[in-house]
């Protein structure tokens, strides 16, 4: 087994390649367009020449002697019959043609100017500015020169016809010059003062002899340069026409060869690595066979790669060109062939050039040539290099499992025995490793592969496993199955923030889905309607250690986005704690213990009192058992209720979303910041468990009847809506009578619309209030809305009272037919119902017309979300690309890879949002922090700590090795 020696890259150099280098690198010259002979062997000096590398197994490379798989492939070359332009450099070539002298090749700028641009280039580089602006202005300056300052020859302008044709544009004497002059000498018919000009007058004005003038007028003498300019000035005419002279690639090559090295540096080209004439190719490199492998179809026919097809075209034309030239074919034919050769080489490099028809396959499909392999989402850069596919990963549907800890993930046994972790066998784990191997690949904690110290990999099979196990020794590697407690990385796309990828501990389970605790749904933005997630097994000890310390779910409870917890109770957990604490219900001993059965609490405190059923414990007391000792909190929940917690006892208030919820639940947030991540994890797990027992104790379900209101209330709602209709009718009447007064800054039409919208909005609100009055406090929809578990009072209003006005673009529905929304209404009907007011409730059901309006409003929402996600995705991609290389340095600055400072201190304050508790009321909660510090100071334990230095509680312990639901750290 050969080991590859690791090599270090000294550097990467970009530049143009010398045709001589192509020839030196070439393994063979390619001269025939054929690929394989009749026996299926590659033809010598053909496109599949075995010196270009091998792809068929069994054959040997004639260049390096290796077989397919280890032979990297070798470049060949084609000697082009005539030079052709490389499409990738056409703009640079245009610049050079415009900026340099046609005769001597030097940049048409005086020495001082050149120096000036050299300085500017240097400065632009220092300041990290785009050097292109300097280069452009240098070219603009040079192009202005009509004559070369070095050799004095006149300079023609260059016209570029895309993609690869260049013309020299010269002003020459127009062929009908004598007619133009004669015409200009005639008096102007429309201008009475103009008497024309006689030949003798013209001779006087121009200083040309009369005889010459007559010769010119007779077409016998061509007035050149000075004479022409004098005539043009005297007669105010243009005697020139444009003459386009096509520059052949060979002309351009000769031209570029004359450009001195010092001048191309001013134009931003590194003369050490690149010569401009190399942009015109005389030799075409032929990519190795390994870069364009042919595939054998089912019927035994070979199908060639697109690049090979293109190369065949190039060689054919190249040969025809040479044959024709040797046969002395007319210039016109040669030029046609030259252009054809240029076309093929151009499309070989890039087949998506605008203005050039793409080269097509026989089937009509455009060929995928060099540029197409690199460009775009599926190209080599974005598709193969930035986005690679990985081994040791799994993907399946997710489902919830409330019995798991939030740090855990349930993994199907079939995944666990397919995905492996590599362990290095040492003297301390030899026995363990042997046991895995002895179990074989089929029995669960087994092994699939082993690697001997000499690097050979052996597959573990049910047959050889026993024997293989005895051979395992230090220095071997064993690919063992995933087992409970292993750390793996879990991810849900789109990965929009860092909590989209977190480390979990494995729990191997039956069935086919990944299982996760519902409290980690918010960070992943996951639900269970068919969502799939990815899982990655970590392969090195360093990776596993880093994942455990930095990426484990409990380390991600606080979101760096807003500095508060993103993991916490959700949905039924919140309904559960609400039911448990809202009316502070009483529980018997059995009931209380049942509520706490899934927590670490197995002993109750003294009962809160006694009622007819005997001693009782209140809901708040039960909840308090989960709180850490010494926790003091006082906050107002969004329902306006005060919640008071003293020394880990909930004294007052209802536990709702503001207390324990994800997205900033006060208690969770405080525990993470004042105690530890581990304590917070235990708390969240236990709140979820307690809440589930509580909600099951009380029973919680919702149905259609929970949204119905008594007939009396229905009548009240109808009355409220009718009143609104009446008021709108009044408004319309005033409007039609022309008496409606417009609001400031609004037209009368707008005012009417606004007032109608307002009235209808009020109508719906009062319908909501009426409905609200008839719901009891224990109505499940009300419980969910009040506790913040799910839904809002508005949802309830729409279900029970009235759905209300449908809107498109924030206005009543106004479009559809001419002057009306639907064919069911009179034209110009301004009433509520004709413009999308839905007076029914969801429960009572919508009329067909209401339903249609509702669908219109609903579609706007869908379109908005679709547009928003695509827009924000693109924005995110650009931000990530722009910021990905920024790094916080040890001196606290944020710098990019070229060490330029982006921020002098991270975030301008050098603090992490998750390490600071601040809100609108206090910038930083300095007081409570100092309180805590001072408290610790006077404690004897704290004094000791102060002397010994603060000891961080270990975070890298598996839940398997620490008490999961028992008393946690002493800081509790």
């Amino acid at each position: 087994m050969s080991m590859q020696t690791p090599k270090q890259l000294g550097g990467i150099r970009f530049g143009l390649m010398d045709p001589e280098t192509y020839r030196d690198l070439s393994a063979t010259k390619v001269i025939t367009a054929d690929t394989y002979d009749d026996d299926g062997y590659p033809i010598d000096m053909g496109l599949m020449d075995p010196r270009l590398g091998v792809i068929d197994p069994g054959l040997e490379c004639r260049t390096c002697g290796q077989h397919s798989g280890s032979c990297p492939g070798h470049f060949g070359h084609i000697e082009l019959a005539a030079p052709v332009i490389h499409v990738g450099f056409t703009t640079l070539m245009r610049r050079l043609l415009r900026a340099t002298c046609r005769e001597c090749g030097s940049l048409t700028l005086v020495e001082e100017k050149k120096e000036e641009f050299r300085d500017q280039l240097e400065r632009a580089e220092e300041l990290g500015k785009d050097p292109d602006t300097v280069l452009k202005s240098a070219v603009r300056e040079a192009r202005k020169q009509n004559t070369c300052p070095h050799c004095g020859s006149p300079q023609a302008d260059i016209k570029h016809e895309k993609p690869t044709t260049y013309y020299e544009v010269e002003n020459v004497l127009a062929s009908e010059y004598s007619e133009v002059i004669a015409e200009a000498m005639q008096p102007d018919d429309e201008d009475e003062d103009d008497e024309g000009i006689s030949p003798s007058e013209l001779a006087d004005q121009t200083g040309i002899s009369l005889e010459r003038i007559n010769q010119i007028l007779g077409g016998e003498f061509r007035p050149l340069d000075e004479d022409r300019r004098a005539l043009e000035k005297a007669l105010d005419v243009d005697l020139t026409e444009e003459d386009m002279n096509k520059l052949m690639p060979s002309d351009i090559r000769d031209w570029f060869e004359d450009i001195p090295d010092s001048d191309i540096e001013v134009l931003g080209i590194d003369s050490e690595n690149s010569r401009p004439e190399w942009m015109i190719m005389t030799v075409l490199p032929v990519p190795p066979v390994t870069a364009r492998p042919s595939i054998t179809l089912d019927n035994g026919q070979r199908s060639e790669d697109d690049l090979t097809h293109k190369l065949v075209d190039i060689i054919r034309i190249n040969q025809r060109f040479m044959e024709n030239r040797e046969a002395g074919a007319p210039q016109l034919i040669i030029e046609d062939l030259w252009e054809l050769l240029q076309y093929h080489v151009t499309t070989f490099v890039d087949n998506e050039i605008s203005g050039t028809p793409p080269a097509r396959h026989r089937s009509g499909r455009p060929l995928k040539t060099l540029s197409q392999r690199l460009k775009g989402k599926e190209g080599r850069f974005r598709g193969s290099l930035s986005g690679k596919r990985v081994n040791f990963s799994a993907r399946t549907v997710i489902s919830p499992d409330p019995t798991l800890s939030l740090n855990e993930v349930g993994i199907p046994d079939r995944v666990a025995s397919e995905m492996t972790i590599t362990i290095n066998v040492t003297d301390r784990n030899t026995e363990e490793a042997r046991q895995y191997v002895a179990n074989g690949p089929e029995k669960h904690p087994g092994a699939n592969y082993v690697k001997r110290p000499d690097g050979r990999r052996l597959k573990v099979t049910p047959k050889n496993c026993e024997e293989l196990a005895t051979k395992i020794e230090e220095g071997w590697e064993v690919n063992r199955h995933l087992v409970d407690g292993d750390i793996v990385i879990f991810n849900r796309q789109p990965s929009l923030h860092r909590m989209s990828i977190m480390a979990h501990e494995v729990v191997v389970m039956p069935y086919k889905t990944f299982r996760l605790n519902t409290v980690v749904c918010p960070p992943y933005n996951a639900d269970f309607d068919g969502d799939e997630m990815n899982l990655h097994a970590l392969q090195t000890e360093e990776a596993r250690a880093e994942a455990r310390v930095l990426m484990r779910v409990q380390e991600q409870i606080l979101s760096p986005r807003f500095g508060e917890n993103i993991i916490g109770a959700i949905q039924d957990h919140i309904s559960g704690t609400y039911l448990l604490t809202n009316d502070n219900p009483h529980f018997t001993e059995t009931q209380a213990l049942d509520l706490l059965r899934a927590t670490r609490v197995d002993e109750l405190p003294d009962p809160d009192g006694e009622d007819e059923a005997g001693p009782y414990w209140s809901g708040r007391t039960v909840f308090s058992l989960l709180l850490p000792d010494g926790l003091n909190l006082d906050f107002t929940s969004s329902t306006g209720e005060d919640v008071v917690i003293e020394d880990g006892e909930l004294l007052e208030g209802t536990i709702d979303e503001d207390a324990v919820g994800a997205f900033g639940g006060e208690i969770v947030d405080t525990i993470v910041k004042q105690y530890s991540e581990t304590r917070a994890r235990v708390f969240i797990n236990e709140v979820a468990a307690l809440a589930m027992r509580a909600i099951m104790h009380f029973g919680f379900s919702i149905g259609i009847d929970d949204e119905s209101i008594p007939p009396v209330a229905d009548e009240q709602v109808d009355e409220a809506i009718d009143n609104a209709y009446d008021r709108i009718e009044e408004l319309i009447d005033t409007y039609e009578a022309g008496e409606l007064e417009s609001l400031p800054g609004r037209t009368v039409d707008e005012t009417l619309e606004m007032k109608i919208m307002q009235t209808l909005g009020k109508a719906r609100d009062s319908a909501g209030e009426i409905a609200d009055d008839h719901f009891s406090d224990d109505n499940p929809a009300v419980v969910m809305a009040r506790s913040g578990a799910r839904g809002s009072m508005l949802n309830l209003t729409q279900m029970a009272g009235c759905v209300g006005q449908q809107a498109v673009r924030g206005e009543r529905i106004n479009r559809g037919y001419e002057d009306r929304t639907l064919a069911h209404y009179e034209e110009n009907d301004l009433s509520a119902e004709a413009h999308g007011f839905v007076e029914n409730s969801y429960r009572s059901g919508l009329t067909p017309r209401e339903f249609f309006f509702h669908a219109m409003g609903g579609r706007e929402g869908l379109v908005d979300t679709a547009v928003r996600t695509s827009k924000s995705g693109y924005l995110q991609r650009r931000l990530i690309n722009a910021l990905s290389e920024l790094e916080v340095q040890y001196d606290g600055t944020v710098r990019d890879t070229s060490d330029t400072v982006i921020q002098f201190e991270f975030g301008e304050d050098g603090t992490s949002p998750v390490r600071v508790s601040s809100d609108d009321d206090f910038d930083i909660d300095v007081e409570s922090i100092t309180d805590r510090v001072v408290d610790a100071e006077f404690d004897s334990e704290g004094e000791k700590e102060a002397f010994l230095g603060r000891r961080e509680p270990p975070t890298n312990l598996s839940e398997r090795s620490e008490p999961r639901f028992q008393e946690v750290e002493s800081d509790d």
Partner: protein
């Protein structure tokens, strides 16, 4: 014309003395051109700033009271 530099949302921009510049560059191990840039036509700049000057910007901060950064004036 409104003098934006007097607006409460525009932080203080002051031109640094050479000695101060040296100490800033020393502290961060930078050469002048490594500093973030500010265009000469930026209305927040003091009138006497010229290209090549280093500007000290002191912003209010919710967490650290003030935050200081430096920029190089360019054309």
């Amino acid at each position: 014309m409104v003098d934006v530099s007097q607006h409460e949302l525009v932080p203080d921009h002051t031109v640094l003395e050479d000695a101060e510049i040296d100490s800033v560059l020393e502290e961060y191990g930078l050469s002048r051109t490594d500093l973030p840039k500010i265009k000469l036509n930026d209305p927040a700049l003091p009138d006497d700033a010229t290209p090549g000057d280093v500007i000290e910007i002191v912003r209010d901060s919710r967490t650290t009271d003030t935050a200081t950064s430096y920029r190089l004036v360019i054309e």
